[in-house]
Amino acid sequence: MDRFLQYALTGVSAGSLYALVALGVVLIYRSTRVLNFAHGDIATLATFVSFSLLSRRYSFVAAVVLSLAVGAAVGIAFYLIVLVRAQRQGANLLGMVILTLGLALIIQGVVVYTWGAEPVSLPFPISDTKTYRFGGVVVSQLALATIAAGVAGSLCLYLLVQRTRVGLAMRATSENVMAAQTLGIPTRLVLGVAWGMASALGVVAGIFLAPALLLDPFFMLDPFLKGFAAAVLGGLNSLPGAVVGALILGVAESLTGAYLTIQFKNTLAFVIIIVVLLVRPEGLLGREFKERV
């Protein structure tokens, strides 16, 4: 039983990071109908920025705040400069997916060029080796901090979307752009804010992942795929769905690694998703889509 709890807790800790990534993916998808394949790469870029700042002896808080700002700025700039133009020309889903892929490739190149392809480790104030014991379960300080970051990120997003005027404008815009514009909501600005927030959430996930993994230009690829898969599992237009999907994915993955096979841990995660999607194509908490003819 202790072993089960132990692995489940590891899963929750990984799942809370997947949740941050998935929330970003969902936020972007439901407001602008774009699948952002550059999500992981924006986070990589910003995490490397915080690495540079920390090695120049900036304080940890300052480095994190600055890298969040960098991530958000890249997201907003890409939306306002590239995507708005493409959408004006009537780009379809495929076209916009490809544009984000283009951004992803550019960022990859820039990161490799600036910081090199050698893995580095991010100096992180929270230790991986210091542990606490609850009954039979051992938790590291890092795992606790990770879960806390996941909860804090989700909570902030929830309050922002449900309790503020900006959130109201965002919900209105994602519901019906035309009606929102008629009511005087600056939809382009609102969508830009959504892109910025989503990218910032990804950066938080990146910074908390960096101490567990080594920092190299492709370190976000795997977590991004998982977060993306979690978003699809939960339903791409549902924010709570993203969190639920991410936690299910994290726990399932960790338990698979513990009881079945460690080598195919990642593969089985995807298999679960494909099976769930075949039964419920709109995701666990997603709304059923109706297609207009």
Binding site: G95, L103, L105, L225, L236, F270, I273
Partner: protein, 326 residues
């Protein structure tokens, strides 16, 4: 432009004497190329030929049928390793090639089944999952992949009177010609029109009597057959394969080739393949910059020339046909 007076004239391949002359010249250039160019250039041209086949397959799926697939690296790996094992068991080249294509097509059918229920973003994650699963299966099962050292594949025998590089070049160019011909015939037949109808409006296509199940599965099977052959030819020319070369980035490169060359165009597929192979050679001294070039090209192409290189080529041709008027 040209006045077509009879059906027979409409069917003719080269309409004007000048077109015939240019076509002849191009053909002569392709045949003469390995005799005048340095060996390295011939090798690159061979790579472009085999890459074009894979890009055409990807284009059938993305460009013509409108199904997003990120699992191409999986089909590449299946094709390459099936081919490798068949060759090691002593099968002749062409039979091993057909086997590789068939194995990949079978996998394509399997991946195609989710596409009956999943659309757009949901399909892309399912195919991405397939690509990752195949990659890990090959990395972890040493029986399939020959372990850490990979599979060594017997070389092709040189054709009489030619060097090894030259004979591989001719074999691959002939294969490319066959696949190009096949693609043209597919897209201008009922099957191709069904694909395009599915891309443009699924429900309308079904209402008009296109069997969605059959044609979506067919699109996946065909496209992965092409990709499997691409994998096999790649394995043959390298002479040595290991699972690490078939990762997600390989799927992305194929994607870039389709977009830059031109969505839904056969000539564009060849141009796109040439693009993704030549850029890393031109920027050999700035290897880190290759993804940046790809990325910037994608952004520029999609915003300014959505038909890609093929669209540019069409416009240039039109310009000269209409010159001096426009």
């Amino acid at each position: 432009m040209d006045l077509v007076e009879s059906y027979r004239e409409d069917l003719r391949f080269a309409r004007r004497p000048i077109a015939r002359a240019l076509l002849g010249l191009a053909l002569a250039a392709v045949v003469a190329f390995p005799w005048v160019a340095p060996e390295y250039a011939v090798f690159i041209a061979t790579l472009i030929a085999l890459y074009s086949i894979g890009v055409m397959g990807q284009n059938l799926l993305i460009g013509y049928t409108g199904q997003i697939s990120f699992g191409q690296a999986g089909f590449l790996a299946i094709g390459a390793f099936t081919f490798g094992h068949l060759r090691i068991w002593g099968m002749p080249f062409l039979i091993a090639l057909a086997g590789a294509g068939a194995a990949a097509a079978l996998a394509g059918l399997l991946v195609g089944f989710p596409s009956l229920r999943l659309k757009g973003p949901y399909l892309s994650i399912a195919t991405l999952g397939f690509g990752v699963a195949v990659y890990q299966a090959f990395v972890n099962w040493e029986v399939l992949s020959g372990g850490r050292s990979g599979l060594a594949i017997p070389k092709l025998k040189a054709l009489p009177g030619l060097s090894a590089t030259q004979s591989v070049y001719y074999v691959y160019v002939v294969l490319l010609a066959l696949f190009t011909l096949a693609t043209y015939n597919i897209i201008s037949s009922y099957v191709g029109r069904a694909f395009i109808a599915i891309r443009d409006a699924e429900i309308a296509a079904e209402v008009n009597g296109v069997n969605l199940t059959r044609y979506k599965l067919l699109a996946f099977a065909l496209s992965s057959f092409y990709t499997g052959v691409h994998g096999a030819l790649y394995a043959q020319i390298l002479g040595h394969i290991e699972p690490q070369s078939f990762n997600v980035l390989e799927s992305l490169t194929l994607f870039v080739a389709v977009i830059v060359g031109g969505i839904a165009s056969v000539e564009g597929s060849i141009l796109g393949a040439a693009f993704v192979l030549l850029v890393p050679k031109v920027f050999a001294d700035f290897r880190e910059m290759v993804p940046v070039v790809y990325g910037v090209t994608i952004l520029v192409v999609l915003i300014f020339e959505p038909l890609g290189l093929y669209g540019r080529w069409l416009k240039t041709r039109l310009y000269f046909q209409l010159w001096p008027f426009r």
